[in-house]
């Protein structure tokens, strides 16, 4: 589950925006536009209100939360909002950080968050450095040709292969690449083979942080990554929310390549305490919170990712 809304984004504290009476100094605040089940306003109403703010040219970070129409989330797309952003791009000249879908499980299940087509965003906002998208249903990134984009993160409970391909095809100075791959019951249909070109080192020459999170095949990712040239040039590895077991941890250790990493995060994992200690000895900084135990039923052992439904 996704339990908590953003407190900070784009280097600024996040505050809900509802026009007058809410923080309007966007050099100090990142506004979040969100709907409420007990309210009639939809995101377009709120965005219209935002676009009329005189302080808009200073806005660098923007968050969109729960989107509803007439109090319902079903079949409600953020596409009108994405289209409005593109249409009014000149009013947001300083936009550097965009989060589409700061929606927690109490508001809507991640697998039910309907997304949109981001193809128009890239050309409209050439100064965009960071984008985070939550929800994979109907998500399309289009072709990313961008001069500034350093961080790309897609958070889903089940990510489609097409989106993974679009993300990996990004022509941008990516430093932080993050995917929440998810559960096949919720639309995940990738495997470690999808990351062959990435691991071979052909993509993202400036990559610093690789975050392949929430994966059903974390062990395979660990094994393939440490056998690849990419491990030699990243600094941070995030395999959290996934299904890392002793086998994957052993592969990481055996590679002898962990010493040059600044940090590994495996939180929400299935690694035994002994192996966590062993991994910790080989890693400058290991984060291994939230250990899990697999479920046994029908004579089989099941490893679940942290975020699916």
């Amino acid at each position: 589950m996704v339990g908590e809304n953003l407190r900070h984004f784009g280097g600024l504290p996040v505050a809900d925006f509802r026009g007058e009476g809410t923080p309007l100094d966007f050099t100090r605040t990142c506004p979040r536009l969100r709907c409420d089940y007990d309210d009639e306003q939809d995101l377009r109403d709120l965005l219209t209100l935002l676009l009329d703010q005189p302080s808009l040219p200073s806005l660098t970070a923007l968050v969109f939360g729960l989107w509803l129409e007439n109090g319902e989330s079903y079949d409600v797309s953020p596409q009108p909002v994405l289209d409005m952003l593109v249409a009014f791009k000149l009013r947001l000249p300083a936009l550097k950080a965009l989060f589409m879908g700061d929606i927690v499980s109490e508001e809507n299940e991640i697998s039910w968050i309907k997304q949109g087509d981001y193809a128009g965003i890239w050309a409209a906002f050439p100064r965009l450095e960071e984008i985070i998208v939550r929800g994979g249903a109907d998500l399309s990134l289009g072709t990313i040709n961008h001069q500034s984009l350093r961080k790309l993160a897609i958070q889903t409970g089940g990510l489609d292969q097409m989106v993974v391909r679009e993300a990996l095809s990004a022509n941008a100075p990516i430093e932080h690449f993050e995917l929440w791959l998810g559960d096949e019951g919720y639309g995940a249909n990738t495997s470690v083979a999808d990351f062959e070109a990435l691991f071979a080192g052909h993509l993202f020459p400036r990559l610093h942080t690789l975050a392949l999170r929430n994966a059903q095949y974390t062990d395979a990712i660990a094994s393939a990554l440490v056998a690849s040239p990419l491990i030699d040039r990243i600094k941070r590895l995030d395999l959290s929310k996934g299904t890392l077991t002793d086998a994957g941890a052993q592969a990481l250790i055996s590679s002898g390549k962990l010493g040059q990493l600044e940090q590994i995060d495996i939180s929400f994992h299935y690694v035994s305490p002994e192996m966590v200690s062993e991994l910790s000895r080989h890693t400058p900084k290991l984060i291994a919170d939230d250990p899990q135990t697999p479920d046994d039923w029908d004579g089989e052992t099941h490893y679940y990712v942290a975020v699916s439904e």
Binding site: G3, E4, N5, G71, E106, E107, E109, E309
Partner: protein, 393 residues
């Protein structure tokens, strides 16, 4: 003041009905000893049902009668079911067989409405007896009737101008639930047993087109019996939701909008305020990975600071003020547990439930003894005030 008490009636005597056993009974006894210098006279609900003469004897020369929750004690729950049987039959409510103890001991939810009728009947009887002897009681039957009926309580809170989730009317089974959701345009609901306690039989349902997801503590056993579990399960189909709601339906339902709770430290959080004498005595912030935050279902306690850091002091003050207003609707009750949800955007808060056995927080640990000490001090002050009134008169 102590001297005056002593001169009036010796050391004030406390009678407790339903004090339970184990840790809670020990904690209550210790608190009573510390405050009054002697043990309380304790009776079970079963004693009261079997032979009211027990209570009559215990109340002789007593000052205060305190009622306690049966919690999960199968004997006590069975006694309360038994006490409510006649009235349940008269009202046409789903009733439990006469020998329900074994079923209840196996975790069966039983018939909370029937049990509540029994509780109401025994509290009314005990209060009537106490009145004849000038013994003050920790609550009154009318407060019992209001607090433990979620449908009635929510309506009263709304009428008093207190913030509550939107209620769905006329929900008796899955079909009527769907109709009510359509009419109210609400796709996320909590369905609760009308007289349920401790999240027993509670279901959080979300609908998304043809997809349904339900989180629940209720389980239908192979024997067809509804049981409350400590494990929150997720049901992923409409058929499972339908079967569960239709099985819960005959027990009496209350349905309301599911307020998206505020997230703190990666968990959904709400707050339980324990009111003693109408004011906030203790606060428990509960946070969970499940829609139900109850501590016995895996909820974690967070420090109050973690909540106020997110919602701000003004919102916290407003929550406390709401809790005091709720307490005023229960003027005859010593203590009250009030559950309040804060919306994910921290703009609104909502009264979810009030519980007359509010200073009993499941799995509260050391908090329980602290609350029992506060409760005993409150009783002593009330007795002292009463003595002074009588002297003045």
């Amino acid at each position: 003041m102590k001297a005056e008490l002593a001169s009036h009636a010796g050391r004030p005597a406390l009678v407790i009905v339903g004090g339970g056993s184990g840790h809670r009974a020990q904690s209550l006894t210790a608190a009573c000893l510390a405050e009054f210098g002697h043990r309380p006279r304790t009776l079970t609900w079963r004693d009261v049902l079997r032979d009211p003469h027990h209570l009559d004897t215990a109340l002789e020369g007593a000052d205060w009668l305190r009622f306690e929750t049966p919690d999960q004690d199968a004997d006590e729950l069975a006694a309360l079911h038994e006490a409510g049987a006649d009235e349940a039959v008269r009202l046409g409510i789903h009733t439990m067989p006469a020998d329900s103890k074994a079923l209840i001991a196996s975790g069966a939810i039983g018939s909370p409405s029937q049990m509540n009728l029994g509780l109401h009947k025994l509290v009314a009887m005990a209060c009537a007896l106490a009145d004849t002897k000038g013994v003050t009681t920790s609550t009154r039957p009318e407060d019992v009737a209001l607090a433990f009926d979620k449908r009635h309580a929510q309506a009263q809170f709304r009428a008093a101008g207190l913030p509550v989730p939107r209620s769905l009317e006329g929900v008796t089974d899955f079909a009527s639930l769907e109709t009510a959701m359509d009419q109210a345009r609400i796709n996320r609901v909590f369905v609760k047993l009308r007289h349920g306690a401790a999240a027993a039989g509670m279901v959080a349902l979300a609908r998304h087109g043809q997809n349904w997801r339900s989180a629940t503590t209720a389980e239908i056993g192979a024997d067809g019996v509804l049981r409350a579990t400590r494990r929150v399960r997720t049901l992923n189909t409409r058929a499972e939701a339908e079967r569960l709601i239709n099985t819960l339906g005959p027990l009496g339902l209350h349905a309301e909008a599911w307020i998206p709770k505020i997230g703190i430290q990666g968990r959904a959080a709400d707050v339980r305020l324990v009111m003693i004498g109408g004011d906030v005595a203790s606060v428990t912030v509960r946070a969970s990975l499940h829609p139900m935050t109850n501590l016995h279902l895996g909820g974690e306690r967070l420090p109050l600071d973690a909540l106020t850091a997110v919602i701000g002091d003004a919102m916290w003050d407003a929550i406390c003020e709401t809790a005091r207003k709720v307490a005023r609707l229960f003027p005859h009750s010593d203590n009250l547990g009030i559950d309040i949800a804060i919306s994910a955007d921290a703009r609104r808060h909502y009264v979810l439930e009030a519980n007359l056995f509010g200073d009993f927080v499941k799995d509260a640990g050391s908090d329980a003894s602290h609350l029992h000490a506060l409760a005993m001090r409150h009783i002593r002050h009330k007795i002292a005030a009463r003595c002074m009134d009588r002297h003045a008169a």
